[in-house]
Structure formats: structure tokens, C-alpha cells
Symmetry: C2
Subunit: 357 residues, 2 copies
Amino acid sequence: MAKVGIRDVAKEAGVSIATVSYVLNNSRNVRPQTRERVIEAATRLGYHADVNARSLQSRRSYLLGYSWRPLPVNVSSPILDQFIHCMGMAAYQRGYHLLAFPTPSDKDEIQVYQELVSSRRVDGIVLGATNTIDPRITYLSTIDIPFVAFGQTSPEEDFPWVDVDGRKGVRQAVEHLASQGFDRIGILAWPEGSRSGQERLQGYLDGIYEMGQPVREEWIVRVNHNAEEGFQGAMRIMSLPADIRPTALVCVSDLIAVGAMNALYHLGLRPGQDVGVVGFDDMPLADLLVPPLTTLRQPIDQVATLIVDQLMTLIEGEEIPAEKRQISLEPTLVVRASSLKQPLQFPISSTQKETAP
Amino acid sequence: MAKVGIRDVAKEAGVSIATVSYVLNNSRNVRPQTRERVIEAATRLGYHADVNARSLQSRRSYLLGYSWRPLPVNVSSPILDQFIHCMGMAAYQRGYHLLAFPTPSDKDEIQVYQELVSSRRVDGIVLGATNTIDPRITYLSTIDIPFVAFGQTSPEEDFPWVDVDGRKGVRQAVEHLASQGFDRIGILAWPEGSRSGQERLQGYLDGIYEMGQPVREEWIVRVNHNAEEGFQGAMRIMSLPADIRPTALVCVSDLIAVGAMNALYHLGLRPGQDVGVVGFDDMPLADLLVPPLTTLRQPIDQVATLIVDQLMTLIEGEEIPAEKRQISLEPTLVVRASSLKQPLQFPISSTQKETAP
DNA sequence: ACCGTTAAGTTAAACGTTTAACTTTCTGAT
DNA sequence: ATCAGAAAGTTAAACGTTTAACTTAACGGT
């Protein structure tokens, strides 16, 4: 069975191909009766316009490109699949699809983007977790291609993004720990130079300030984004003399929190009961750790929808309204046992509850 | 700057557009000197053929479709991102890209596939984790579109797939547990009706048989693919009278293993030291659990490469050689503390070692 | 020197749509 | 009844490639 084209539909409905096109895109008035006939013919034949022909004509690929940096081994990207899924959905609702391409090695990174744009493969690009100065952004800004980033970089660079407000989130975490009676709160932060790391740290400082405490340098330890360093960082911070040793740890990522909890066990301390722990990301499994991890959940689906919205606006050739161009969303604190002094509840018993205010 | 097209290159090089095309696709002999000139012009102008025009002409989209079923909440798809990444790479090396589309609700699932094919959006389709009879397979078989599945269904259905041999894997796990001195091994299996579940169970039976033991019905508990049920299943199995209670548990997935380990803690038993536990998947974080989880790792990158290979063959209009049409790969046993009787080593200390024979 | 054959280039016709520009038909105000 | 103007439909020209078919140049064997 040969592929059914617009001509077949036209013949079937007894009209010209232009009319078929007008009906199907409803881009012009057509007599209701004719329209009816065309639609009927199209559905009967199971016609769908060849997207390649349409792309050629309209100079649009109806494709959104999304690339993410390959995950270092053992560093799961807790939200990647969720994010792709949401973006795919959002795109689909607008007649678009998602082109997922792995970021190649830094060397030919730009080249791949160039090719993607210059061959008209994609109409717009979503930039995954950017949080540091990024050559891609500089490049994409110079050429004329719509793009939106998940995450901002430095304040000087001006481009459309959607981000999650780590500062507010961490501040919330600190407040929560304080309200649970943890009075000495330390933080495992990222190394300097990371935008979102700096933000989250700032949230910690906000929280401490609000508690009316002075900031203690010894309670701030910087580690990279993996569990191993979380372990070591926690070991370091918890080896302070007993009288100034923190009673709770805020971690800038769940992965770090996992390492930290391991360190606590190693020192004979029980996360939750003895030392409060909060993470960031709400990765899958966060609720299955022992104890289940209190953490900040990012509103991924919202992020995805907003990004696609912005992108569509740009693709239509319009400007994004100023108030929508750079959006900061708040994460949600998901309270689990790791930040409560109550004795350890086993996580998987069906009676367990979670609260996300 | 207007987009540079093949005409621009032709003019720049002083030849006709046909020659440019011939050079760039090297589909016909061209005098070396001319070819040189064309290539030089093309790179200088930064020319990349408009993929939409090319698609229209060649009736190929150079796109591979991949859809996966949306993840139930809290069920991470441990390998999804890895898989997408590997597939994207493999596709790219062959001049292809990956179209990631979320599987819609069952209702209009088929319809979406229809549209995808009928609008020539994709040249081929990769079917994600199929392990039960799947309407998509039936549909895709009837229409004429290349597709390859990751995972087989029932033996009657004949289509190209790549799978991971769960039977061999689980058997290996049983042997390993036995070699560590665990002599009473139970299994948390999936409900009946799942192809891969049945396979993994068979691997368990193989292992028990090899140990020279009879199979005990009480040691086989069926649960769904989540931690909660893993917890309950383990509670059930471990509540057997002390003299016939298993000393080790094989779990058909890491998620179930996580639940099981929680149950063991709940019962005052230490995973590893008291009761051996093995999972399946090597999800991210498997090595960060307490204790780190022994598990079976799927060779995702190989799977991806093979699938793309098969797909490309089909797209070229050729037959897949019989011996490559249905490929079963072996998983690798990754031994960590959860299956060793040694006292618990804390996982994150930098001295820790993993063995993957 | 001639001619057949091959190599190297060119021309022009697709590919399947969208849409501007044109023609025909209908409508209703005078 | 007439006619302007709108509505409905059609024709044909793009969109930017690939590639079959054709032209011209080059080559070598007799």
C-alpha cells in the first residue's frame, strides 16, 4: 500500500489539493459542507501530512532539541527522565517533538550545535542544567536560534531561562530543621563558582541569620557533587569538638546527603534522631533510604511547560514578555524521617506518611 | 545573514549544484581538484544541507523514534537516561538522531504511532522495555515500519529484539550466594505473566537445581516492581519458621531489593552479614545503599548499539541476518557487600572495592 | 585521424506540501 | 436587474535538496 498523499485525499473528496490543505490547517474559510467532505476523506484514508514536505515549505522542523551533559558514572541525573518526559508532552501538545541528542565531547560541542541549527534540524533548543558559564550559551546567542535554558548562569548574561530558586528552598530547609529543634546547622555546599551552589549557600546564610545565629566558617564545607565527597565532607564537619559540632546538616544535593548519612552511621550517629539531614532534588529512592530523606523537590513539570512555552514564543518570532523571560520557581520541602528527631520509622511500612506542605 | 544553501556553495566553487551534491554525498566520481574546491567552499561558508529538503527528496527523516512508558511515581527507570544517551550516540554516528516521544495514554497510543509513521516523522522505532504482550508490536508488525524492541515478549511473536538474559544472570547470582555460604536461598519474583520475570525465576530454579536442592514453594514470593511490595514480600518470606527461613534473597529488581533490605532491618537482621541480598539492574545508587547492593548490571551500551544496528539494516531495506535478529546478552554480576557475610564496611570510604568478574 | 567508451559536469525533474494570486460563485444593497 | 465585494475554490510557484538523463570533454585503440 503506497503512502497516501494530499492528492489522494483531494481526489477522494473531489476538490483541489489546496482546499485540502486549507481545511486541514484551517488556515482559510471553507464551506462547511466541503470541509466535512475533506475531513471525512482524510480520516477514511488515514492521511497525515508528510512532515518533511511541510517542513521544507514552512522552513520549520517542528522539532525541539534537548541535550544534556553525559552523567559521570555513579552520578545519576535524578530528574532527567522525568524532565524529558514532561518536555516531550508539552512539545507534543503544540505539534512539536523532542529531539534528544547527547552532548558530545567538549571539543566538538559547538560544531554539533552549529550543524543542528544550520541544517535546520531543530527550531529551538533547550539547554539542560546550566549553572556555570557555558560556551553553548555564548554561541547560541550569536547565531539566531531560539533557545531557553534550564538554570541561569551569571547575572551578566542575559537570556531566557527557567530556574528553581535554591535560595528560598535551602532557607526553608534551615527553618524546618530549626523548628525541629536542631540548633546547630552545618552545610555541605558545592565548590565556589557554581551559580546555583552559591544560591543555595545564600539560602543557608539567610536561614542562619533568621535564627539569629552568627555564621560559623567551620560549618560550611564545600564538596563536589557525589556521594563520596559527601561522605568525606560530613566526616570532616562532624569531627569538630563535641561542643561546636553541628546537630544537623543541609546538603545541596541528595547525592551528597547520601554520602553524609553514610558518614553519620560510620560515626555511630543516627541520621534523623541524632543528626538532622536534608537533601536537594528528591531523587527517586530518596524516600527509600534509611531513614527516608527529607529533601527539596523541584517542580519539573512546571519547568518543562514554561520552557516549552517560552521556546514556542521565540519560534513564532515574538518577544517573550519581560516578566516571563526569566522565571524562578520555588521548590517544595518534602519532609521525611531524616530531619525528624523521632525514632526511626521503617520507611517502607505502608503506614508511613509524607508531608509536603 | 541569510541561510547558506547549496546554490551559494555552487556559486562560490564555480560549479553546478549537482556537483556540490555529488561531492558532499560522494555519490559519484568528481575530479579531485573540483572536489577540493567544493569542499573548501562548503566549509568556508559553513554549509550544511537542509535536512528537511533532503528528507523530502529521499523520503527519509533520519530520525529514530523512541518511546518509553511513563514511570509510575517513585519507580525510577534506572537505566533510561543511560539508554537514551547510548542510543543517541549510536544513532548520531550513523547520521541519525533520536526522537524521544512520551508514550501517551493507552487509549490513543496506537494512534500516535500511526501518526508518527504516516507523517514520515521517523524512519524506525525503538520499543522500550517490552516484556509482556504489547499492542504496539502487533500494530507495528502489520504496517510496514522498521522496529526493534528492547526485550522480547512471548516466543510466538517473531520480531527483532535485543534482550538481556535474566535467566543466566539470576543463576549466576544464586551460584554466587551459594559460594558465599548462603545455603537457603529465596526469591522475590514478579507476578506471573511477565516474560522477563519468568526468565529470571527460571534462572533461580536453575541455580537451586545446581545446588542439588529441592525447590521450596514457600521460598518463592511474587511481588510487583516497587519497593513497598519488596518490603512486604520479604516480611512474608522471612516470617517462616526459623529452621526453614531463607538465609539469602534474590530479588528480580534493585527496587524490590531495596524494600527487602528495609524489611530485614525491620526484623533486626543485617543485610549481608545475616541475610544475603542480590538485586537486578545496578541502578544508580545501588552502590550507595547500606550495605551497597550486589546486583546484575545490564550492558546498556551494547544493547543500544545493537538495536541501532538492527534498525539501520531494516531501514536500508535489508534483512537482518538470522543470527543477529534476536540477540540475548549476558548481564554482569557486580559483587558488593549485601551478598557477603563479612561485617559491614561502610560504603563510601575510599578504600572500598567493587568486583565485577 | 577516427570513433567508441568512459569520465566529469550540467540541466531539469522530481519529492509533497503551503500559500499567493487568480477565477469563479455567491450575496445582498441599490 | 445590476454590480461591487466577499467567499469559496483552483492553479501554479515556491521550499532546497537528490539524481536520472543529457552534454561535453578526455582518452586510447585501431
